[in-house]
Amino acid sequence: MLYFRGCVAREKETNISKSTEAILREVGIDFKTISNEICCGSVLMRTGFLEEAKDQMQKNIDNLKGQKVLVSCAGCYKTFKEDYKEILGVELDVIHTSQLFKDLIVENKIIIKKSESIKVTYHDPCHLGRHCYEYESPREVLKFISSLVEMENNRENSRCCGSGGGVKSAFPEIAINIAQERLKDAEKTMASLIITSCPFCKLNLNQAYIANNNNNNNNNNNNNKQNHKYYKSHDLEVLDLSEFLLKQITSQSGGLKNE
């Protein structure tokens, strides 16, 4: 199996790729990564650079063809599954980490006790959910290891985290604003964790959470309660599914054997 980490998990949210690799080792899956891995082309596709995206796909294709490709990122997933097929005419055997984790649990390859007391909510990445119809695998994993509570807008009605389509880079403030709205949805569930299965969503939601906290502190200092961004009622942690799963495995087994 080839684990294609994707740009965000490889360079920004590195804990996601580390967690994923740790889980793979834990269950003894033989996998490799590409040492000089490059962008899958998704960001180019979404921002109108079609020719450049094609070039990028060409550079990648030989590394991907003929093997099972595991991805962390909802963007990579959609791009490999749909765009590579449409543009290069190549059908790739691609699987998302949430799907693999679900399979491993169902096949008893990950044996883990359910932590009833941990209340989590799940944020559907647009590219995995609405665009590729994968809603249930991540939920099954979460239900297996914790108590899942749904936000009002879930599955196909899920609200975007705000980072897709190049908005995060071109309009960072809008991206954060949108993520803050999504965090409000999560807050309402009273869950202590919001889990997603895309490094891009995690990055943005987490930054929004941090921005909220800073705001919060400033507000407390300035005694200014008028700021509309002030909403935090309890602590919320933003994690990728891989990070949460590993955390649970580790906490139960007291460490990983192959670490």
């Binding site: 740009c7 109108g48 975007c160």
Partner: protein, 400 residues
Amino acid sequence: MNSKELETMRISFKKLNERRMEILNDPQTKKLQERVKKIREDSVNNMEELLEMAKKRFEENGIEVFLAENDQKALNIIYNIVKDEKTVSKSKSNTVSEIDLAKFLTDKNINLVETDLGDRIVQLNPTDKRPAHPIGPALHLNVKKIAEIISESLGQEIEPEPRIIMELVKANVIEELSKCKIGITGANSVAAEDGSLVMVHNEGNISLLTLMETHIVLVGIDKLVSTIEDSISVIKLETAYATGTKIPSYINVISAPSKTADIEKRLLNGMYGAKKVVVILLDNGRRDALKECLWCIGCGSCIVACPVYNAVGHEFGYKGYLGGRGVAMSKFIKNEKTSFDSGLYMCTLCGLCTLECPVSTPTSELVEKLRINSQKAGFYPKAHGVIKKNIKSSGSPFKS
């Protein structure tokens, strides 16, 4: 929009969503939706034939008909009709705003009376004249702000009380209408085979305008369908999605000038209603538009759901063409630069609007497609240019 307006807008959207819930889940509505989807798709596919048919039928019915290739031509046609008037009146219409009629007439010293309450409030707002929603243009303004706007325009202090505001505006509009001989409206749907124009309203203002001596109807060629039955289906669905009600207060169907033959069977035009009905079918880029972009029935559901629109308001949109689909439309109505400036790159491509849209407009796909040409024409965010370069040289968007 400022943060207060955004907050008011979001509260209005929430109320609207609650009001719509029941009707949108009604199996009858779902059935209607399937029918309308097909009507819109077929109509857009057959736009040219419908256009020919409509022209013929309007003429047979005694309606004067013009085809305007662009906004300038439409303005000239209207000007030729209204040039001797001091005051003309209009109802709310995206198409009328599209051609900037208000500004055009002001420049020609012709007073344009806006009869729709919401549109009037928005037009009088000194800071920002753009609507927030196609059916509820002023839903981002609270009653206090609205009272301020109306007080300012009428030169008298008004209490922030909805009924008082309504009564005052009504009295003012009725007085102004008494000086008008020409009413200008849009149409929500055009039935080509019947030569009929179908209009929806709740206030009753359009009925008043159809009773003027001359009634001018400006309508995009994308509004064409085959029959009145189709038009009514479209309108019922639009109403359900836009307001959460089953049916609007008024549906006017205009198929000919007002006439009587009650004296010796001699035909006389202009009994109570318009003596002359003129329809201007506006192209203005629609013929070159991507077909999916024209399915829209103008309900505004997409922006109510849109995460970006909820965060920034009508900055994400062009004139009355709001949200992602509006931005896409602006490319065809205007050009690449306009759609870039209207927020072509603000869309997160999340796809929620397509799910919420009664005719499943694939907005994220349209936006993605339009970005290709926009980018080629040099209109793309600087940040995206850097990322493109980075990927080319290092393989990573984050490293140069």
